[in-house]
Symmetry: C2
Subunit: 213 residues, 2 copies
DNA sequence: CTCCGTATTAATCAATTGATTTAAACATTT
DNA sequence: AAATGTTTAAATCAATTGATTAATACGGAG
């Protein structure tokens, strides 16, 4: 009995609370906070409307819980990689590209959802998770700083994430403009597993004189 | 009298219709379709609520008009560059990076807005504008195809747009994680005007053997 | 000035939505 | 089984929202 002890456990395999949370994840992700209704969540969970406010005080509360989990889900993917002190920078870059392409193939809508909701409501997930400190002090950022010449290492971090994540964010446009279809997109993303690390390496080794600002 | 003839013109410098449209642009951009209300638009425009439905049949109608204009606004920025038959590929790449960094500095919220709204409602802006044909037959894509080796040229298009646009999309996160602040972000973006073209050049000249899929 | 189509306003509707209430069903303890 | 606390359900509230209506103000044509 390693599980959390609950005073009153129903026969149901999954608790109502878990049902609601799972439904909320699905509904909020597909519709966004504003368009999603508590009735949508209740229906998706197959439970009574009142239970949403019974278990979670409000829609906003439920949403913030979902957001918290989604962000940790997204960042948790690369956390082991960037905090590994033994691996080289090149290994990390390859690991990040691979891990994110895997992750985004399974969760293609997540980045757009997070970026957009973060833009509207200013949700302070930083203070709650302490990601900022973990990231800045991570071996990854330190290695990037150490190896960089006269270029701000953040440039490479941005470009790495951009080349990895952006295609998934822009997929609707890429598809509708006819530049790619379902299968060619997948093929391209698999090619990028090795292309992106190689590109970043070429970029880093490139000589560059900074311009005047 | 080159302007469109209107039967009944009020003294107002800007017509009510234009006021509503301008207000709709502002409100929809900042709140998104679902969270924006027709009352928001009316208040922002300083007019009576009923006029929104008087001039534009419905909220959806007004929104689609706004979206249409926003997308054309975004694509219009690079259209002259990609369709210029006289300039070289390198010149085009530099032109696109520069034009978009200028544009996004002035309109930082636009890409996230468009990408998100496009993900939810499937708005068919392609059939209305014919962007797909223009893009695919453009000198830019043709030049990219011609110069590419064994790598799909779409890779470079994606990476170019990614490295240019993604920083603006991810700005809220970059700021909140403390990786950049307001001034350093601007400095980075200005540096990318020359960095990105140079990077793309390095990427294109890089030798690469495609992996098995 | 009078007439007539256009523009604007205030009031209102019906539907939706987040949230609450009240009561019933259920499980646990004694 | 009675008592007690927890979970679920149905009904309802008050507020919001997209849209309409009916009446009024306005401006040009005759």
């Amino acid at each position: 009995m390693a599980k959390t002890i609950q005073k009153h456990v129903k026969r149901d395999a999954v608790s109502t609370q878990e049902k609601i949370k799972a439904a909320a994840h699905k509904v909020f992700l597909s519709k966004g906070y504003a368009a999603a209704t508590t009735r949508d969540v209740a229906e998706e969970a197959g439970i009574n409307l009142a239970l949403v406010n019974y278990y979670f005080r409000s829609k906003k509360n439920l949403f913030e819980m979902v957001m918290q989990e989604k962000i940790q889900f997204l960042l948790g993917t690369i956390f082991p990689i960037i905090s590994d002190a033994s691996s080289s920078l090149d290994q990390k870059i390859e690991g990040i590209a691979n891990a994110y392409i895997d992750f985004l193939t399974k969760n293609p809508d997540l980045p757009t959802f997070i970026l957009n909701e973060l833009r509207k409501n200013d949700f302070d997930f930083i203070s709650k998770t302490g990601i900022d400190q973990v990231l800045k002090k991570s071996p990854f950022i330190q290695q990037l700083k150490g190896e960089s010449r006269n270029i701000n290492p953040v440039h490479f971090l941005i470009s790495l994430l951009a080349m990895t994540i952006f295609p998934f964010v822009a997929r609707p446009i890429l598809m509708k403009t006819g530049l790619v279809d379902e299968s060619s997109f997948q093929k391209l993303m698999n090619e990028r597993r090795t292309l992106i690390p190689a590109w970043i390496k070429a970029m880093r080794s490139m000589t560059y004189k900074p311009i005047a600002v």
